[in-house]
């Protein structure tokens, strides 16, 4: 509510209520305050966050599938157990994220429906198939490594529940990255067949992982607002460069090559510079023409439909129990 001190002669323009609220909201974010459930927020902020968070959640859930497919084939008991624990974590992360979206007013039913009817998106990277055991290592080290960079940034975002969910996810994800790296190291130092297997894996996953960071900054329309609202505090290209600088020396040290003939080290900036990203492939995959899009969603749809009688049965039992008690 606007308060004007009548004893003070100031040039104050009486602003409409909403604009004043928006200003205060942005000032809070600029001060580094967290926005919590129940606080005033612009409708656009709320909608953007629901979209981002639910997409993030869907990615974790769909991401369980390409790796889950290799649990049955993991070559040692330790690998089997750690992969199971990793995939279980991913389910847990999806769970934390759906909860964060729920605090903004979204419902699980709505979010799930959007995913299964292809209205909602999830991270493109999970539309690629896992063809060999080496892919499990590559996904852990590269894909989860990339996700960690993004999530570390999001752990500082302005919306409290989302920031906290990302903090928790980051803590758990560090073991994912390490177990993936360990697998790649073992393979790269192993037999000729193992080396060939992991090199082939890197060849297939390198560019899709780079594309995970999103279009170049120059091609990203939403960035300004997301940055002002404390949702995106580092640009796509910034995060991508951090990733490249970390992975290239390590992969090369293991005797692996990066599938990029234009890769070069720039002395002045200290950055590894890459060749051109094939964005046509990115758009093909994200619009549903990727190798696994249909399969992934079909699997989730089937699980959902097959589970209908189960969910109904448990709701019915709960109702019977409640009615029994009420009498």
């Amino acid at each position: 509510m606007g308060y004007i001190n009548i004893n003070e002669k100031v040039d104050v323009e009486v602003k409409p209520d909403k604009e004043a609220k928006l200003e205060e909201f942005e000032a809070r974010i600029a001060r580094g305050e967290k926005i919590e459930p129940g606080d005033w927020m612009p409708e656009r902020y709320r909608k953007q966050l629901i979209r981002m968070i639910s997409q993030h959640a869907h990615s974790e859930i769909v991401g369980m599938l390409p790796e889950g497919a290799w649990i049955t084939r993991a070559p040692t008991l330790r690998r089997k157990m750690t992969l199971l624990a990793k995939v279980q974590d991913e389910g847990g992360h999806g769970q934390y994220l759906y909860h964060a979206a729920e605090t903004l007013g979204a419902t699980r039913e709505e979010m799930l429906d959007a995913l299964l009817t292809e209205k909602a998106k999830y991270s493109n990277i999970f539309n690629y198939p896992t063809l060999t055991w080496a892919d499990i290592g590559t996904i852990g080290w590269l894909v989860d490594g990339a996700a960690i960079l993004n999530q570390t940034m999001l752990a500082k975002c302005s919306y409290g529940p989302y920031a906290r969910a990302n903090t928790r996810i980051c803590a758990e994800e560090s073991f994912h990255k390490r177990q993936g790296q360990e697998i790649v190291i073992f393979l790269a130092q192993g037999t000729d067949e193992q080396k060939a297997m992991v090199q082939d894996s890197i060849n297939r996953w390198w560019w899709p992982t780079l594309m995970m960071f999103g279009p170049h900054d120059s091609d990203s329309p939403n960035s300004g607002e997301l940055s002002r609202w404390g949702i995106k505090t580092k640009s796509n290209d910034e995060l991508r460069q951090m990733f490249i600088n970390e992975l290239v020396p390590d992969l090369q040290a293991l005797g692996l090559t990066i599938p990029d003939p234009d890769l070069r080290y720039d002395e002045e900036s200290g950055n590894w510079l890459i060749g051109e990203i094939d964005w046509d492939e990115f758009w093909q995959v994200i619009t549903g023409n990727g190798p696994c899009n249909k399969e992934r969603l079909a699997t989730r749809r089937k699980a959902h439909e097959d589970g209908l009688w189960v969910r109904e049965a448990l709701s019915a039992y709960a109702e019977k129990q409640a009615n029994g008690k009420a009498s």
Partner: protein, 255 residues
Amino acid sequence: MKANLKEALAHKLLAMADDELVVGHRNSEWTGHAPILEEDIAFANIALDEIGHAKIWYQLLADLVGENPETYPDRLVFHREAAEYRNIQMVELPIGNWAFTIVRQYLLDTAELVRLGELVQSQYQPMAEASAKIRKEEIYHYRHTHAWLQRLGLGTDESHRRMQNALNQLWPYTTQLFEPLPDEALLVEAGFVPDPHQLRLAWEKLVLSNLKEANLATPEDTTPIKVQRDQHTPHLESLLAKMQEVARLDSQATW
């Protein structure tokens, strides 16, 4: 320890380990396909626990026969043929629908609970200690599957029908749960394991009472499957073909 007693113990440990490994493997197949997200997470946990239990028994076996407990379990799991496995047939059956999985899990969890309750007093110290540890997790597994049994048995007509079908299919396989190994009598005599007949009675009492509460009945005319643990269905071979696929690419390689 006398040679024949040691051999009997080795057979028993292998049997227990194989049961946990195969059912853990089966349960891991549900990851990403469960009826609701929370159950995906819960079931992955059960599978993880079971594979962990298998590892404990394989390591005990390694210690007993003088093998390296760090490497022996993997050798047993990834480089044995189906004919060398000593699990019961019930665990190698495909996961089926949710009702089938829940009923199977329930029958196994109750058997485990009853068995471990006695094994904590085993005269073979390593077995008593391992059982105490495993039992903690089994108590929770039983709580979980019992809750599911109850809810699906009593929920809707459809869930009840599916549960009863599953029970009809699985009941003949339960004979094997407490069928003694050829040399098990030696272990009972030494106080290493409890009398399987007594276990079976305790198990039946528990199960029949739970089933009744869940409005489920054991089928009447069934031919019990009374085979030795070296007899397997074709399902085990296809399970192992998948499980051992990567490891067998190179048995000398480190993964």
